[in-house]
């Protein structure tokens, strides 16, 4: 009980100390004078504005900077090499769609075959 009472009284004492220190006006004036001095310095040498980024820089950033751009470049080169070295493989993997885009008639039914089918029937 006494311990609890002691603790309560100590808490009261500590709480009464909160905000008990008064700031003299002279100190406030010194601090504000420092603030004005620093603001003058900041005005004299404002922080360097960030240069506006061009559209190329925006794309570069959107792709994840240099690491992202390297990946995109590698994928492009690999795709080009595959297309040149193994066009049939690419056409097969795409389900004939690449041939369709590139005008490869192999991806379309032969007109002659249609006649033949009609004749067979």
């Amino acid at each position: 009980m006494t311990v609890e009472r002691d603790e309560e009284q100590l808490d009261q004492l500590l709480q009464s100390a909160r905000g008990a220190v008064r700031v003299p006006e002279t100190l406030s004036a010194r601090v504000l004078a420092d603030a004005a001095m620093v603001q003058t310095t900041l005005r004299a040498a404002p922080p360097e504005p960030r240069a506006g980024r061009g559209w190329l820089a925006e794309i570069h950033a959107a792709l994840g900077g240099w690491p992202g751009l390297s990946g995109v470049t590698l994928a492009g080169v690999a795709g080009l090499a595959l297309g040149i070295l193994a066009p049939d493989l690419v056409d097969g993997l795409s389900g004939g769609q690449i041939g369709l885009w590139t005008g490869d008639l192999g991806a379309l039914p032969e007109v002659g075959l249609l006649w033949e089918e009609a004749g067979d029937v």
Binding site: V21, L42, R43
Partner: protein, 195 residues
């Protein structure tokens, strides 16, 4: 910004730092009114030397102004905790230079037996008694007790300010409070408390 108080009152300290960096003199006034009493209070309680506490509070505020240009509003520290940290470090430096931080944790365990509290105490002056008792604590313990029980900060905030773990802060404040209680026991009548 016209400088009227109600406009500033709604702004956080961090927002005021940005305004300050943009040259707003009103922001400096409001930040000074909000933060200087806390810096001075902390330094005064920790140092027990009013003149030195004023110098340290001014120096800490000057560093705050200089930090405004690069202030990150979404950073982990608020201007208040940042300032407390600067004050705490400046107090530590001053106490070391003046040879007043020699008290160790070992010394702390026996602090309740140290003489001098009564001698320094003016009858009925509780603040003087509290300051005298605080002066007996080791420096880190004193800082933690002042920040927790007088400035009213949370343990995680104190951990950030003193660069300690939260558990270490809890231990420091608990031991500090026990030591304060011991130092003030027996003075209760003089302080006007029931014995």
């Amino acid at each position: 910004m016209s400088g009227d108080a109600p406009t500033y009152a709604a702004l956080s300290d961090g927002a005021l730092m940005v305004l300050f960096a943009n040259g707003d003199p009103g922001a400096a006034r409001v930040l000074t009114a909000r933060l200087l009493p806390r810096a001075l209070g902390h330094a005064t309680r920790v140092l027990g030397d009013r003149a030195e506490a004023e110098d340290i509070a001014q120096e800490a505020m000057l560093r705050l102004w200089r930090a405004a240009a690069d202030w990150a509003q979404d950073g982990p520290a608020t201007p208040a905790t940042w300032l407390y940290r600067v004050v705490a470090n400046l107090c530590t430096d001053w106490l070391r230079k003046s040879g007043q931080s020699a008290l160790t944790d070992e010394a702390d365990r026996h602090s309740d037996t140290r003489p001098g509290v009564e001698a320094q105490m003016i009858a009925g002056d509780r603040m003087a008694a509290l300051d005298a008792a605080l002066a007996l604590l080791p420096e880190r313990q004193r800082q933690a007790v002042v920040l927790r029980h007088i400035e009213g900060l949370s343990n995680p905030e104190i951990a950030m300010i003193l660069d300690l773990g939260v558990e270490a802060v809890e231990s420091l404040t608990a031991r500090g409070k026990r030591a304060l209680s011991a130092a003030l026991s027996g003075k209760k009548e003089a302080l006007g408390y029931d014995s």
